[in-house]
């Protein structure tokens, strides 16, 4: 969806007409779900958080500055929603088995069966290691690697100066590497 279309939809939503909110929800629900799932660790809580964040965002649209992009603003709301859920009794980071519920994009079949299996195993370990690192480390890794956001966008979502993103990413990746080593994984 282009920024102009997005702006026009938000302008209409600001009048309270929720019909124009549907394309925005559909455009941002998959990246939003990835973020929530990464932060909360299981699909049910992630969907609850996503739903609540969309409702909160719609109710806050009156204060939304149309010169800003919707994505980082929405992710900021979603991130706060996930943090609230983690702090309340409603959810804690519960690792969901990587079986039927979560998909793993397999390594290229051209790599051969051994490499294919190795890659799958490495990703399983990574998912488990994500549970072991702190919430702050986890969220920045998810925003960068799973959401693919640029440093400027990450800074906007986390409400930190852009210059701090690289340093926080370094510490988060270092923590993830140490968690993997503690699990007995040789990485890479």
């Amino acid at each position: 969806m282009g920024p102009e279309v997005e702006r026009e939809l938000i302008r209409k939503c600001k009048t309270g007409d929720s019909r124009f909110y549907e394309p925005l929800v559909r455009a941002y629900e998959q990246p939003g779900l990835r973020l929530a799932l990464g932060m909360l660790g299981n699909l049910e809580d992630a969907k609850d958080a996503l739903q609540a964040a969309f409702v909160r965002a719609f109710q806050a649209l009156g204060r939304f500055d149309l010169r800003r992009p919707f994505g980082p603003w929405f992710f900021q709301i979603l991130r706060n929603q996930c943090r609230d859920m983690l702090r309340s009794r409603k959810a804690r980071f519960q690792l969901e088995a990587l079986d039927e519920r979560l998909e793993l994009r397999p390594a290229s079949r051209e790599d051969g069966p051994e490499r294919y299996q190795e890659k799958g195993q490495a990703r399983r370990l990574l998912w488990e290691a994500l549970e072991r690192i702190g919430e702050e480390h986890r969220e920045i890794i998810i925003l960068k690697e799973l959401q693919g956001l640029r440093y400027g966008e990450i800074a906007a979502v986390l409400e930190i100066p852009e210059g701090t993103v690289a340093s926080r990413l370094y510490h988060a990746r270092r923590a993830l590497k140490e968690a993997l080593e503690d699990m007995g994984a040789e990485y890479p």
Partner: protein, 141 residues
Amino acid sequence: MSERVTHEELMRYLDGEVGPEERRRIEASMEESTEMRRDLVVFRTMKDDLQGLNLATGQGNGSVWDAVNRQLTRPVGWVLVVIGSLLWAAYGIYAYLTSPHFFLEKVATGAVAIGILLLLASVIWDRYREWLVDPYRDLQR
């Protein structure tokens, strides 16, 4: 000898957040640091594998739009129902009180109505207090 690459620069290099000139400088510095090159390999592999965690995409996960839409439109419905009910109740009470019925009849009907309301309120209050201390209240049934 080249300037040492900081951890922040290494991250920006890994994530493609550097310009061509800075990139060349970092690459030249890394030629001299085995430790940095090793870190880069580890972080790059981790990055590739993390990006391979294709979580919760598409199939099997329906849109949340219907649930969001329900939550956005339901409060409007509730507000209208409550306002309408209150108006009807107020009009009913007014009409009954100003009607030519016998006084004792009004007192008896009023007592029954107030009694039912008090019983209902006490049941709701008890359920609420039970819910507050229910250890299983967050479990989905």
